[in-house]
Amino acid sequence: MLRHVLRRLVQMIPLLLGITILSFLIIQLSPGDFLAEIRLNPVVSQETVDQMRANFGLDRPLHIQYLRWLGNILRGDFGYSFAFQVPVLWLIKSRLLNTLLLSVTSLIIAWLIAIPIGIHAATHQYSPSDNLLSFTAYVGISTPTFFSGLLLLYGAFRTGWLPIGGMTSLDYDLFPWYGKVLDVAQHLVIPASVLAFLTVAGLMRQMRGNLLEVLRQDYVKTARAKGLSGRIVIYKHAVRNAINPLITIFGLELGGLLGGAAILENVVSWPGLGQLILDSVVRKDLYVVMASLVFGGVTLVVGNLIADLLLAVSDPRIRYD
């Protein structure tokens, strides 16, 4: 098992190299650069722009730029953001927790809801409740997050029940600790439920499908024939088998924890990483984009690894040697 983990981690290195080389090339070869806005400023001369290019090292050959960047990150230096002139790591750190708070909360909510209702839908196939759940799931899958986010924001605006976007209130710093928790929780309601709704819809359909599949298996019939109660058949045998594909999905979701909610963050003013990354891509803030890609790549690979390990735990047929 340990050897397997190590091997997977070693395999990650060429993969990450490939990802970074490709993305570095794509960013650099696509037309325009970070200085586009400044070039269109009537009071800035060509010389000033050229000098900024040189300051940023953008005037050097591509391979040299890449190798310098690679050398630096091996030493833990992710470089400076062009736009902010602060270390990229500081920028990412300033928003990392916010994003994790949002994505982890919604992930937990989603899984807590999706699994039980998936099971319910499968065991009550074609019942009114199953149909209603399926319908809701279709709505959930097909509604883009920016739309449901906007809808809920509008609701909050009309009713005044919830804050309109953001993560904390103006007077956040004056609150006692429980006030702070409550405040953030209030702000979390809209974005977390939007994200959770989307995930629940997908997961629940998966769970339902898998479970139905398993319930048709011979061993389930055998178990039933043997006189085991329906409860035990479903929860002890069927669900256990039906959940395996979901674990793979879980791994993929771990990979999306950092940047997966970029558009929603933008809509509801959540000060997360996704927003930062989106902005950096748009304005070609090279090293911020590169760093986020590295982090995204690592979490994706690690997420998959965790999923595979969990799979081995849940399914004794799977072994890594």
């Binding site: 696509s30 037309p31 325009g32 650069d33 586009a36 806005e37 400044i38 070039r39 269109l40 400023n41 009537p42 009071v43 800035v44 001369s45 060509q46 000033t48 722009v49 000098q51 900024m52 300051n55 400076y80 736009a83 902010f84 002139q85 602060v86 270390p87 500081w90 920028l91 300033s94 928003r95 916010n98 906007l150 924001l153 605006f157 005044g160 309109i164 976007g165 953001g166 993560m167 904390t168 103006l170 710093d173 963050e265 933008n266 809509v267 003013s269 959540w270 000060p271 997360g272 927003q275 930062l276 902005d279 070609k284």
Partner: protein
């Protein structure tokens, strides 16, 4: 040795020349503060306000730096403007230059030597006095090669940098090679504290560019402005507290500002900005032109007033590429043909653009200067009324004929066809392009409309020059010479043909001359004559087809006092004098 004599004469002249500016200071009785003999008394009309209250505004995107010398974009400067001051500042209503950190100044007879006297008793947030050393340091930083600032370009005249030196603790002298007419307008760079930043500058420009980045504890950002930064939460807000040692007083001698706390929320987009205002979370919102009537109806229910503001200084426009390095004949011939440019200018439906994009709240643009710029606007420019028949007639006179297939052909029989582009992110511009294409197509021109990403567009405009026609906009200032990058034929933003070795046409040469004359002309009314002529030339030659100058419509919560009069480009009263009529929060 001979050179010294004129210099000495100049110095004596300094003493003789009268003090310029300072209109409010003549009013009696003279107002003083215990720690400041001569605070600045607000000169624009205002009422005496009440102290207290939390003022909230929102802005799009985070500040990028707290170092005002290197700050470029409004998301940073809008925050830092509350913290730092320049030697002089601009009156928000008239655009005139007024004293700020400098309480007075003198200029030598030859117009080349300026001496500024600092206001006595002004201190940095940490209590240290503001001295001539800070001023000299600021300009040293600006002129340090590698420090990222646009001020260096505006303070370099004919390739010669401004020279400056300290005379004594309170006086600084500036010298230029030639008299600079716009000197006061460009000298207002924010002054920064030497005792905080000298160390960073000594370590080199790269270090200086990174100093006072957004990762600096806000309390370390030391300025002289009305507010002290208290907290910055990335992606959420910046909070300020009142500077109790600010150097401005109201007409009754009360120390400003009135507001106790000031918060700028950071939101990701315009929709959030609007929503925050309508939810009464913010006090001020710069509404878009097409929101005007909608907001007008909500005024009472939402307890705010939306004001009918003047035009902004910048217009969107379409420009045709006249650069031989970018377009080949016959296209080049059409675009370089003044008659062609004038003819298609009659086929730009400015009324429809104003109605569809700005809901009627825009004034047609006939030249490079906005009606909103009361100082220099030329109201006698030739106007190109929307008239397709007239456009066709002019094209025919210039040798362009519409064939039986409906396509326009030039004298050599080439079909007139070109690509029109704009930045796809900007919905307004994309819509303008559609209006333009429809009308130009009616003339028989084959217009291939292809909006592109902003980055790509700028790359073409300033790099490859490989484009035909582009719709875009530029920011404008009060004084056109600050835009010399656009108007000098050698400028890098001289869009239709940048960086010319020698002016390609007589009229471009005349503009070069006018700009150089205007830059060296100290008298504003004489400078105006140069600017009027420049607008006339641009309107006749139409190297750039301007569309319209949109109006401004600031919306402000009725709980605020001292909002009006509305100033240039729709500015409400500066934060110094804003106050809450009833202090609740």
């Amino acid at each position: 040795m001979q050179r010294k004599t004129p210099f000495l004469i100049a110095l004596t002249a300094v003493i003789l020349v009268a003090v310029v500016g300072a209109p409010g200071l003549t009013a009696a009785p003279k107002l003083t503060l215990p720690d400041m003999p001569n605070p600045k008394v607000i000169a624009y009309p205002h009422e005496v306000g009440k102290y207290g209250g939390v003022h909230v505004r929102a802005q799009i995107t985070d500040p990028r730096t707290f170092n005002i010398i290197v700050a470029q974009e409004t998301s940073s400067t809008d925050i830092l403007a509350n913290i730092f001051d320049g030697l002089v500042e601009q009156n928000y209503i008239t655009g005139e230059i007024e004293p700020a950190l400098a309480e007075s100044w003198t200029v030598s007879k030859d117009g080349r030597t300026w001496v500024f006297a600092l206001r006595q008793g002004v201190t940095w947030f940490d209590g240290k006095p503001v001295t001539a050393d800070d001023v000299v340091f600021t300009f040293q930083a600006i002129f340090t090669e590698g420090v990222q600032t646009s001020s260096r370009d505006t303070l370099t005249f004919d390739g010669k940098p401004l020279r400056f030196r300290k005379l004594d603790d309170r006086r600084v002298e500036f010298r230029t090679e030639k008299p600079i007419g716009t000197f006061l307008r460009v000298i207002g760079a924010s002054i920064v504290p030497r005792h905080k930043l000298a160390e960073a500058l000594a370590k080199g420009p790269a270090e200086f560019n990174r100093t006072w980045g957004v990762n600096t504890p806000p309390r370390e950002i030391i300025g002289t402005g009305p507010f002290v930064m208290q907290e910055y939460v990335p992606g959420q807000r910046v909070t300020f507290l009142r500077n109790t040692k600010y150097w401005k007083v109201d007409k009754a001698g009360n120390r400003l500002p009135y507001l106790t706390r000031y918060v700028r929320l950071i939101v990701p987009n315009l929709d959030a900005l609007r929503l925050k205002f309508l939810a009464k979370e913010t006090d001020v919102y710069a509404a878009r032109p097409r929101e005007f009537s909608e907001f007008k109806q909500m005024e009472r229910a939402q307890n705010f007033t939306i004001y009918d503001g003047p035009e902004t200084f910048s217009s969107e426009f379409v420009v045709l590429n006249q650069n031989p390095a970018g377009v080949k004949p016959p296209k080049l011939a059409w675009f370089q043909d003044q008659r062609f440019r004038r003819a298609i200018n009659h086929a730009i439906d400015r009324a429809t653009i104003a109605n569809q994009i700005y809901a009627g709240r825009a004034t047609p643009a006939w030249g490079p200067m906005s009606v909103g710029n009361k100082l220099y606007y030329n109201d006698k420019l030739p106007q190109y009324e929307y008239n397709l028949a007239r456009a066709e007639q002019l094209l025919a006179e210039a040798g362009y004929r519409k064939g039986s297939d409906g396509f326009l052909r030039d004298a050599q029989g080439n079909i007139v066809e070109f690509t029109l582009s704009t930045n796809a992110e900007n919905n307004d511009r994309v819509a303008m392009g559609n209006i333009l294409r429809q009308d130009w197509t009616k003339l028989g021109i084959k217009v291939n409309y292809a909006p592109e990403a902003f980055n790509t567009l700028v790359g073409k405009l300033t790099g490859t020059f490989n484009w035909d026609a582009i719709i875009i906009g530029l920011t404008g200032g009060i004084e056109p010479v600050t835009g010399k990058n656009v108007w000098l034929s050698s400028g890098s933003l001289h869009m239709w043909w940048p960086k010319q070795e020698k002016a390609a046409t007589p009229w471009e040469e005349e503009i070069n001359r006018l700009f150089s004359q205007a830059e060296n002309e100290v008298a504003q009314d004489k400078r105006k004559q140069f600017y009027l002529r420049w607008q006339q030339i641009v309107a006749e030659q139409v190297p750039i087809h301007y569309f319209s100058y949109p109006k401004t419509q600031p919306a402000v919560r009725n709980t605020m006092g001292n909002v009006t009069p509305i100033g240039l480009q729709g500015a409400i009263q500066p934060i110094d004098t804003l106050y809450y009529k009833q202090v609740l929060r």
